[in-house]
Each structure stands twice: as C-alpha cells, then as structure tokens.
Symmetry: C2
Subunit: 219 residues, 2 copies
C-alpha cells in the first residue's frame, strides 16, 4: 500500500495538483496522448522538469510516444488520493471566505468545504455556496473529525482561532491572514499572504527586469 513515495521532492509535490488538473482537462477534451513538451507549454513548467517529476514515480511514459493521458490521469488520481474526499472547514465568512465557499473545489479536486464558522450573528444559520455557517463559539463541538481548515478571519483573531483549531485536533491550516501563527510542530501551516504576494510582484518588477529573452515564470 505504502509505496516508496516518501522522498519525492517538495518542489515536485507542489506541482502535482497542477499536472493533475491539466491532465483532467486533456482527458475531458478526449486527448489520448501528451508529451512532456505539450504539458510544458500548458502549465509553464520546463519539460525536463516535468519528466524528472514524473520519473520519481517510475516509468509512466513511453519513449517516442509520450504519456497516455488516461493512464497518467488514473495514476495521479491514486497518488493524489483523489478517490477519497478530504473534508475541510472554513473559518471566517468575509469576502475572502465567501469566495472560497463559492469556489467549486470538489470539481477536479479531492477537497470539499463541509462547514463554515463566523462570529457575525447575521451570517449564522445561513448557507453560502451550499455550506452552512455555524457560530464560531460552536467550533469545537461541530468540527468533528475534520482535519484541514482554511483560515480567513481578521488577522487579530488568527492566533486565537488557530489555538482552538489545534486543540480541536486539526492537522493542517491554510492561513490567509497576514499573521504568522504559531502551532505545535505536528501541525502543518501554509501561509498565503495576499499583500505580500502583491508587494513581491512589485519588487520583482522593479528589481528583476525581464528581457525579451527571459521566460515568465512562477511564484
């Protein structure tokens, strides 16, 4: 069951969902085969990097042919655990939280926001994007065995909520607040800091001018 997949580079792991989504597109379009070069054009990742990434999982392609879309897709489906849905909670139903609730993650994705929490009485009991909004006071009681949370609360509330989430047994937090929250070392936090992303883009524009010959790249 547990195939030797533990040493896949993190950089590779982060690209897997991207590959998966694009393969899904190809499959929907009825394409039967794809080369690393074609994939490269579509996802903007160097073709050698793609081949290297795939090679960590073994020989998935065929020389002179490329990759069989169906096969590759089903392989990634297994690898990314697409068959079992990961249940997610969202804390903070502001604009950003609402954006998430309306985003159809379940399509092309193994995740589903099952429950949302907010402190604003007006929102409690309503449904946003098909997800019921509960009062933040009921967090511990209603979280159940959900192990992943999206944090879209005001940054002043971030650490407090994070502490409660940890106590309630969460294992991963996707933190959209500017606060860098502290958690025990067995809880994983990914920070996505919108203001910083924007500021970094501006900095790169000023200090890392692109030439006509450079290739636009990611992140």
């Amino acid at each position: 069951m547990d195939i030797e997949q533990t040493k896949i580079p993190q950089a590779t792991a982060k690209r897997l969902p991207l590959y998966y989504r694009f393969l899904n597109n190809l499959h929907t379009q009825g394409k039967l085969r794809v080369s690393s070069k074609e994939l490269s054009d579509a996802v903007k990742v160097d073709s050698a990097t793609i081949r290297r990434d795939f090679s960590y999982f073994g020989a998935l392609g065929k020389k002179g042919y490329g990759y069989n879309v169906e096969y590759l897709l089903s392989f990634f489906r297994k690898t990314l655990d697409q068959d079992e849905t990961t249940r997610v909670a969202l804390i903070g139903v502001g604009n950003l939280g609402t954006a998430f609730l309306n985003y159809n993650f379940t399509k092309n994705n193994n995740t589903k926001i099952e429950i949302a929490f907010d402190a604003n009485e007006e929102r409690i009991g309503s449904e946003v994007g098909g997800v019921g909004v509960e009062h933040i006071d009921d967090l511990e009681e209603k979280l159940g065995d959900i192990s992943v949370a999206i944090l879209t609360v005001p940054s002043s509330a971030a650490q407090g909520i994070a502490d409660r989430l940890v106590k309630a047994g969460i294992s991963g937090i996707l933190n959209f607040t500017p606060a860098r929250i502290s958690v025990p070392s067995n809880v994983r936090v990914h920070h996505i800091d919108l203001a910083i992303e924007l500021q970094a883009l501006v900095y790169f524009l000023k200090h890392y001018p692109l030439n006509e010959d450079d290739v636009e790249e990611d992140q």
Copy 2:
C-alpha cells in the same frame, strides 16, 4: 542611485515584504532593537536565513546588539520603494476581487488599487472598498499608465483579458485564476492558485507527516 542590489536571491526578495511588515509592527510597538532570533520567532524563518538575507544589503546590524528597528525599517522602506505608491488595477469584482478591494493594502504597503473592472452591468459605476468599478469594455481607455493588474476573473476569461492587459502596456499580473496564462516574455506573471494550494496542503499532510520534532514551515 542604482545600488548593487540586482543579484539578491529571489528567495530573499520574496521574504523582504514579510520582514518589512513585521518591522513596522515592532516600530509601532515602540521597540528600539531586535535580534535575528526574535525576528525568526515572529516570521517563522530561520534566524541564520534572516541574517544571511540582511547581509546581502551590507552590514545592517551591530554585533552583540542586534538591529536597530528604526534604521532597519527606514532601510527597507527605501529598498522596497515604499515611498512611491504603485498603482494597481483589479479585473473581476467577484467575491475574491471584492475581498481585495476591501483589503487595505495601502497601510503597510506601497500599493493601491486605483481602479476596478467588471463585465457585470450591475456593478458598473458602483464603488467597492472605495474603488470605482468600470466596465471591462473600457479597459484600454481607462487603464492609463497603471502597470500592475490583479486578475480575479473566471478562468475562462483569463487569457483574453491577459492579452488585452498586455496590449494596454501592463508589466505585471497577479493571476488568481486557475488558468496558466501566456504572455510575452517581458511581462511578469505570478500565479496564485487557491485550489492547488489547498490540494498541495492535503498532499503534504498525507505524505509528509510531521514529527513532534519537525518545525512547521512555509509555503
């Protein structure tokens, strides 16, 4: 004027806004000095990495003392061009776009969303977060010399809008759509793909279990 800052590692450059924001906090709190260790605890970046990052700009600290908050802050203010505000356009006033418009970027930040565009007639002419919403048809006419755009449109519209932005002279795009857009090599695109971030977090949770001894890390 143009100090030798061109070879600062990209990884370092991406952390600068984070440092800057935290220094701002410290300054507001009236703190006079700070050590790389303290900074490390706050921003969750290894203290050696912080010292290394700072060292690319020269000797900013004092041995046995640490860094003078005021000095460091004013240094970063210059380095990050905080004195001149970068004007930004936002395309797509949905939930996510609205979240941005209500986000006060200008505080702690050198960027300001000056204008927004949308295709939905109902939104045109209104103000969201103090920013006027224009019709997407008027993009070229009203963009002016704005050089950075935040793209929060449906992914099916992403490439088309990107093409128009490029023609209108944009230099940088912060792309929140799942579409990997193609642009000329002199335009910089940073992708932030929310579904993929969530999926990657789930993947890491399953395949990269954290021990009690590991330290939670970023991105």
